[in-house]
Amino acid sequence: MEFIYENAVKIVTEQPGMIAMWIIGAFLIFLAIKFDMEPTLLLPMGFGAILVNLPIAGAPEVIETLYSATIENELLPLLLFIGIGAMIDFGPLLSNPKLMLFGASAQFGIFMTLFLAALLGDLGLFGEGFLITDAASIAIIGAADGPTSIFVAGQFGTKYIGAIIVAAYSYMALVPIVQPPVIKLLTTKKERLIRMEYSPKGVSRKTRILFPIIVTIVVGLIAPECVSLIGFLMFGNLIRECGRLDSLSETAQKVLANLVTLLLGIVVAFTMKANDFLRWDTLIVIALGLIAFIFDTAGGVLFAKFLNLFSKKKVNPMIGASGISAFPMSARVVHKMGLKEDPQNFLLMHSIGVNVSGQVASVIAGGIILSILG
């Protein structure tokens, strides 16, 4: 009893931050269970946050070992990309390739956030400010893609990696709350009512098989820094599309993705030690992450509106918002918004096409930032 009492007193007097981290951990678990917000990640992260903030415990050492063996060398994000690649059907995108441009435009938030983070740092409004690599790592939250955020932040070795991961996954879960107001603000009722016909062109098997191979080669030649990310993503997709590896495809989609996600959540919690996490700049990182998502959405919507100025066949600008990646939540959000405006307006296939293009574009954005600053 005396031992417990001493430990309790020690925490309260010497390390009150640990108690704050228990509360944050419990809050993440609460969000995961009560509101079903990215439970596969927020629950292990929440528990991990509690685990690494216990005094005189052996768990942090184990998690640290796992962290250096799987996150520092980017192993887990890359493995997760095989699973994601196996889940993605590029069919809707291949039947309408110009949708890919929306994915590119919806990466605007990344660069806007990079600018804002750098400006905040230069203005000296808080502490030491951000290094340009820190600003870039924070900005990549706007990729709306956990593995890419982890990969880029890991490559830059930023001290904000914990906050970046928490922000990236939290905002992905909050896409249904973050995106609709931005979309409504930037579009008129008339624009939201634009109907888009879906006339699927048959995509041949050859096309589906060659697409991942050629994209890997093209991206590898132009943006070599992101070839590992795009390569693993496309490898997963090739397994899916080749038609000979159904059991491997199923394993990648379910077993591999689940196993990696399980480990990722708890291992990432290593970065949530009270001393590293409880800082004012953590709040700034989380706020900048929200800005990144808002500007991503705005970038996609405004680009669609811009295209409508020149196009005879108008597109519903809402589908531009799906370019933020966050697969497949963002596509569903746009589809539901379309149905709300007009119960006969089915935007799902278009928004899914844009959504998968955002997945590819976000990886390219990460690679380009690494190429410039790496």
Partner: protein
């Protein structure tokens, strides 16, 4: 055929604009030498102007990161569109492939 021509046009246009942009985007403050193609006087002028503006604004280095972030924004967005345009071209070409009928 129409698709192929438009795809090639997009690629050529993108690459030509990219070559101009890449030089100006990498023009950093007074300490950086600007590398330009000798064959293009227009590109040289643009690069020198950007370089002068950047070095004037950045004399005390206070806003160095902000200026760098703007460069990255310009180069990054353009880079994404460049890669995307090429992928779009590839996709249009790939959609021409048809499976053999059984």
């Amino acid at each position: 055929m129409k698709k192929i021509i438009s795809a090639l046009l997009i690629a050529v246009l993108t690459l030509s604009v990219f070559s101009v942009f890449a030089v100006s985007a990498f023009a950093e403050g007074s300490e950086t030498e600007v590398s330009v193609s000798e064959s293009s006087e227009i590109v040289e002028e643009v690069s020198e102007t950007v370089s002068e503006v950047v070095s004037e604004e950045n004399e005390d280095g206070k806003y160095a990161n902000t200026i760098r972030s703007l460069e990255i924004m310009g180069f990054g967005m353009f880079g994404i569109f460049l890669v995307t345009c090429i992928i779009v071209c590839v996709m249009y070409l790939l959609t021409l492939l048809k499976d053999k009928k059984a």
